[in-house]
């Protein structure tokens, strides 16, 4: 046989890795990849719509990886919320690999969105929606563990979707609805699924993905153990970066959200208000005990900041308090001042 050209080799590599999920789904193109697998755009011929199809890499086709993938799909499917991408189906390829399909999100990744929108109010509204979705997951005992702009999509109609629950952890004693049973909790107190994803060809406005790449140690076995590091540098809380699994809880996601918020402030530029900086500092404290207790508290403080109310994270001076109250009630104050000025003018004119 004559030698295979580079072009043919490249094609055959794709052919060997290409999933064949049966008659219902036709795989169209890869749209994101990660350490554990790939996401493809696929056509669902039954329902005549495009979906995202996530499949494990062939190198991860063992029974443990398959079990983890099914578990991940169950965790994900248990989180039915407008801010979380819905799962449609789970199945197995002829070669034994597990796949699942989910809504194909069309929109802009948050990192790209941040470059296009530098209005703080807009970004804070997006942030609140992210918090809503994450708080919902926390209420169902699921910690995302890989929150970052690359894992958030902003749709054309302003909808905000938190993606990639691949390294999510379920907290013992609580279960996500819809079958996300915490099977691993019985073994080692936590559950963790597959690694993160990055978009192909740097196309950040298409579907799923990341700027900095999710860290997932390929030497790690099916379950995460102390010392295992999963997450993304720059967004990982110190306890997560140290592999201190026992200390990972809702506040780990609070830290990542704080880092996202810090990115917003940097993108907006100018001199940010001290209360906002204090809020970010509180969310990103190295010690989890010193952070907000949960995402709800963080979101409340952000809402307070937006509404001109007092921010819990910041002890303001009397002057700042007065200035904030003045700013918050600027409209009635201006009206009163205008009224007073008019009365004064009338008085002065009447006197002359």
């Amino acid at each position: 046989m004559s030698g295979l050209s580079d072009v043919t080799i490249r094609h055959l590599r794709e052919v060997a890795d290409w999933p064949s999920p049966g008659e219902r789904y036709e795989v169209i193109e890869p749209i994101a990849r990660g350490g554990m697998g790939k996401v493809y755009r696929a056509r669902d011929h039954e329902l005549e719509r495009d979906v995202a199809l996530k499949v494990l890499n062939l190198s991860r086709s063992g029974p443990d990886a398959a079990r983890r993938m099914v578990r991940e799909a169950r965790i994900h499917a248990g989180l039915e919320h407008p801010g979380i991408v819905p799962i449609h189906d789970v199945g197995r390829l002829a070669d034994g690999r597990v796949f699942y399909t989910m809504k194909l999100v069309r929109g802009t990744r948050l990192d790209a969105f941040t470059r296009e929108h530098t209005d703080l109010d807009t970004l804070l509204r997006v942030f609140e929606r992210i918090c809503d979705a994450v708080a919902f997951a926390h209420a169902h005992g699921v910690i995302h563990r890989d929150l970052k702009p690359g894992n958030v999509m902003v749709g054309a109609f302003g909808e905000v979707l938190v993606m990639d629950w691949g390294v999510a952890k379920t907290l013992g004693g609580r279960e996500a609805e819809g079958g996300a049973r915490n099977e691993a909790a019985a073994d080692d107190g936590e559950e963790e699924a597959t690694g993160g994803w990055r978009a192909r060809s740097g196309d950040s406005s298409r579907v799923i993905s990341t700027g900095p790449e999710t860290v997932s140690d390929p030497r790690v076995g099916p379950d995460t153990h102390p010392g295992t590091v999963l997450g993304t540098p720059g967004y990982m809380a110190p306890e997560q970066a140290a592999g201190n699994i026992e200390r990972i809880d809702e506040r780990t996601d609070v830290y990542a959200l704080g880092m996202i918020l810090r990115g917003f402030v940097t993108a907006v530029g100018g001199k940010p208000r001290r209360s906002l900086l204090a809020l970010i500092a509180r969310a990103t404290e190295a010690d989890p005990e010193r952070r907000y207790d949960g995402v709800v508290q963080l979101a409340d403080d952000v809402a307070s900041f937006q509404a001109g109310r007092r921010v819990v994270a910041y002890r303001e001076t009397a002057w700042e308090h007065a200035a904030r109250i003045g700013y918050r009630f600027r409209t009635p104050i201006l009206l009163i001042l205008a009224y007073g000025l008019i009365r004064l003018l009338i008085f002065v004119l009447a006197g002359t």
Binding site: G3, S5, T8, L12, S20, K38, L58
Partner: protein, 251 residues
């Protein structure tokens, strides 16, 4: 299985519990040792040869001798038994061994004709030369990248050859024919062949084309994984090899 090499002897799969290809080459059982050697050579002789030709700028004849000599020296010096999976990938280790071997040979002012009870292996150097003519490789390519790239080519080429043999032997020649036309020749053609065009040419319907391609691709994938598994030194290395061959963008 058809290899470019022809070492003789019936194919014998390693038992699943084997520690590795590497340790197989030092196994007391001559049959296991022979099979391990066959796999080692089949998987790596072309990357070795091409590295010698490109990186070491060896002439055709020198590269042939050095390739033969390198594999003989690996066995005679028990070099492979010193491989530590914790310190490096097998491919990296092998390439380092190659560098050391060539360097030593050149220092010795000429090649030693090696034999030592092993003899020369019949290797199809003409095919390797043919591949070199087809493939554009810059002289300054990173040696590791070159070795990796040629290893990928070698493994995929072997899988294609195995697919052809298996398909023809099992009366599935039409499946291989379609695979060859669409997935091997197709990527280089402009315009690319279409399912409908192939169906018309071969006088079959389009569904038959897609089904046959699907079946051939599935078998190709299975063969490739099998080749990788038998040439890997451990489960971890197998996974790393699959990742490097199929999932890594750098290749």
């Amino acid at each position: 299985m058809t290899f470019d090499t022809s070492m003789g002897g019936a194919r014998k799969r390693f038992p699943e519990t084997r520690l590795s290809l590497v340790f197989g080459t030092g196994d007391p059982d001559p049959e296991v040792r022979q099979r391990a050697l066959e796999i080692l050579i089949a998987s790596y002789w072309k990357p070795v040869y091409k590295c010698l030709r490109i990186q070491w700028r060896a002439s055709n004849e020198d590269a042939k001798d050095l390739t033969q000599g390198f594999f003989v020296s690996l066995l005679e010096s028990q070099t492979l038994s010193r491989f530590d999976p914790a310190r490096a990938r097998f491919r990296t280790y092998l390439r380092t061994c190659l560098d050391r071997y060539v360097s030593n040979e050149r220092k010795a002012a000429g090649r030693l004709k090696r034999g030592g009870g092993f003899g020369h292996v019949p290797l199809d150097f003409e095919s390797a030369e043919g591949e070199l003519r087809h493939v554009e490789v810059a002289v300054d390519t990173d040696p590791d990248a070159l070795f990796h790239r040629e290893w990928v080519r070698s493994m995929i080429s072997r899988a294609v050859e195995e697919l052809r043999t298996v398909s023809e032997a099992s009366g599935r020649g039409i499946e291989y024919e379609l695979f060859h036309r669409y997935d091997i020749e197709g990527p280089e053609q402009d315009p690319r062949p279409t399912y409908a065009g192939l169906a018309t040419e071969l006088g079959i319907d389009v569904t038959r084309v897609t089904n046959a391609l699907h079946a051939a691709r599935g078998r190709f994938r299975a063969i490739l994984l099998e080749l990788l598994r038998e040439a890997s030194v451990s489960e971890a290395e197998f996974r790393a090899d699959v990742t490097a061959l199929l999932e890594d963008d750098r290749s």
